[in-house]
């Protein structure tokens, strides 16, 4: 290759440089490259353009976007690394839009079966001892199948993970003096749906958080700004956003969202209600549609999580479910949290299917779609967490394997 020194560059004497290119038959040839193109592409040849700023920005080369519908928006799981979801890519599910709330005007009322009905502002909440929990949040309606061209985002993008910070609800329960006999509380949002769910009081004592921060900063409006309930491991809609009221009582309220909405048919004409816990699940996020793969070494990567505890083990099959290998769990492995798993696989180019199954700390093994249907009288609905398979085609294309009823 012809040597081009800096003096020649600066003088503009060289009108073209020479680069090595490959032809369609993989033969290396020298081609001329106009000097202005080389100049523009070489960041070492000019001072950086962006001065220090007030907020960081994503590289313009990174096109990370959620996938919105009228009522929800999905996290691009296949484009993310590690266990934390960038806050602006956290999934959304609203029941009548995102309210614009002035935090100075927002108050949380706690009343009902308590000694001292209390009103706290956001500033008041921040004076109480603060706790943090890194945990996933998943919508119970987080399952799609039916065609090959579905990505992890399409199949189960209604799950995301953040560090949630706020006040332990137990602290506020002590503050108001929850009366013996109070067994449920109603959580009500300040959105246009006045979203309401009845929650067993025990969850409040155990690990509920009145959260005002997500990943180190104030909640995003889509995540309930300025304050939300956060219930680790429970179906997403129970973590009521834009929280404005908590009422303690001795029976559930049977709100629309816990009767006609977030309930599921389970066979024999029965409908399961108050199905709070998210069962263990996993998904391989690479290889996954739409990115193709090349033969040779591939690190199979993915996420596993359980609302009942920690991920004990993830098993991976690279032969369409005939045999299974134990994947490596990437630390940290946290309670009720997305956990990374990895397995090195040498793909020889033959067509196959790959899939993962999670085992949690209760011994629950992620089921197949068929097992779920059999257990629920053939019904599909909320809380579907089946093993998800990817077809690897000879040409390297990766396609979802649709579930068959």
């Amino acid at each position: 290759m012809k040597k081009v020194n800096r003096r020649t560059w600066l003088s503009g004497a060289a009108t073209a440089a020479v680069a090595i290119a490959q032809t369609a038959t993989a033969k290396a040839v020298q081609v001329g490259v106009p000097i202005d193109q080389l100049w523009a592409d070489d960041p070492t040849k000019q001072p950086g353009g962006a001065p220090p700023g007030q907020v960081g920005t994503r590289s313009p080369f990174e096109k990370l976007v959620k996938n919105p519908s009228d009522i929800s928006s999905r996290t691009p799981l296949q484009d993310l690394h590690g266990i934390l979801t960038p806050s602006d890519l956290h999934f959304e599910r609203h029941h009548n839009g995102v309210p614009a709330i002035d935090p100075a005007k927002h108050e949380l009322l706690i009343h009902g079966m308590v000694d001292k009905p209390l009103v706290v502002t956001l500033a008041d909440l921040k004076r109480f001892p603060s706790v943090s929990h890194i945990a996933f949040l998943e919508c119970s309606g987080n399952f799609r199948t039916g065609k090959e061209t579905l990505s992890p985002q399409d199949i189960c993008g209604l799950t995301s993970q953040s560090e949630w910070t706020g006040v332990s609800l137990a602290t506020l329960f002590r503050e108001v003096g929850v009366r013996p006999g109070a067994s449920w509380f109603l959580a009500e949002g300040g959105d246009a749906a006045l979203m309401t769910r009845s929650i067993p009081v025990q969850k409040g004592w155990d690990d509920a958080i009145i959260a005002y921060a997500q990943n180190g900063e104030a909640l995003r409006p889509e995540q309930g700004y300025p304050v939300r309930l956060f219930l680790p491991g429970w179906e997403g809609n129970t973590s009521v956003k834009w929280l404005r009221r908590i009422e303690l009582g001795d029976a559930p309220w049977q709100t629309r969202e816990e009767t006609s909405k977030y309930t599921e048919a389970v066979g024999d004409g029965k409908i399961r209600q108050f199905s709070f816990d998210i069962d263990a699940r996993s998904i391989i996020t690479f290889p996954a549609y739409p990115a193709p793969v090349q033969r040779g070494w591939i690190e199979i990567r993915g996420l596993a999580w359980s609302g009942r505890g920690t991920i004990e083990r993830v098993e991976i099959s690279t032969d369409a479910g005939k045999s299974w290998q134990v994947a490596t769990l990437q630390q940290p492995v946290l309670d009720k949290a997305h956990t990374r798993f990895r397995l090195l696989w040498h793909w020889n180019g033959d067509e196959t299917e790959i899939m993962s199954r999670a085992v949690d700390s209760t011994g629950y093994v992620q089921p197949t779609y068929r097992q779920l249907l059999d257990a629920r009288g053939g019904n599909s609905g909320y809380h579907m967490n089946p093993i998800t398979a990817w077809q690897i085609k000879r040409d390297g294309r990766v396609l979802h394997r649709p579930e068959i009823r």
Binding site: H111, P129, R174, W253, Q273
Partner: protein, 205 residues
């Protein structure tokens, strides 16, 4: 003993004293194991004294929820006939004429919603899926109409509740729905609901 360790010992005694002196006066209904698993283990006083007492006016304005036993229902009365007219004006755009279906879903059980289209799930309606009649009042009052939530008067909500219950064949056309009668309405779907029976472990449910 150095001054520093003296100070530490004193500090620890102080904390223990604080803990002993500030035990919650109303103990939470907890087992001891649940208490040890509590999220925030920082030693704390029984009360911080932050925030302010809620006023009666605030409670009246914000406490709008209604339970199946009727707790929370306001004064008022409604009939299907009056509700039909309100529904046509304020609800039919999204739920269809007579509540039989539209962008906002069907509310009324018909042959179509019961048997459904082949291969498609029957639509969930108030008549075939809602276990408590009080939920109709609570939800319509808090969240409907979708484009103008909270705009209906209690009287209008009673009328609409009566209309929707009658349209589903649950109450008589002439029935009056009030705070006393609504909790006594037995919904067809009430016996269908069972609590969550999933427990983790080896069973798939």
């Amino acid at each position: 003993m150095t001054n520093r360790t003296c100070w530490r010992a004193g500090f620890l005694l102080g904390v223990v004293g604080l803990m002993a002196g500030f035990r919650p006066t109303t103990g939470p209904p907890l087992t001891s194991s649940a208490q040890t698993h509590s999220l925030d283990t920082i030693p704390a006083p029984a009360r911080f004294g932050f925030g302010r007492p809620a006023t009666t006016a605030e409670l009246t304005r914000l406490d709008i929820d209604v339970r199946p036993d009727g707790k929370g229902l306001p004064a008022g009365a409604g009939t299907a006939e009056r509700g039909k007219a309100i529904f046509a004006t304020k609800c039919a755009t999204c739920h269809g004429v007579g509540g039989t279906g539209g962008l906002g879903g069907a509310l009324v059980t018909t042959t179509m919603t019961t048997t459904g289209v082949a291969g498609k799930r029957p639509e969930k309606t108030i008549g075939n899926y809602w276990p408590y009649a009080t939920t109709v009042f609570d939800y319509v009052r808090r969240a409907m109409p979708f484009n103008e939530p909270g705009s209906l008067t209690d009287e209008e909500v009673y009328h609409l509740t009566a209309y929707l219950l009658h349209a589903n064949g649950i109450i008589d056309e002439k029935a009056t729905i009030t705070a006393q009668t609504l909790p006594t309405v037995v919904m067809p779907a009430q016996t269908l609901f069972i609590p969550d029976d999933r427990r983790g472990g080896s069973e798939i449910r």
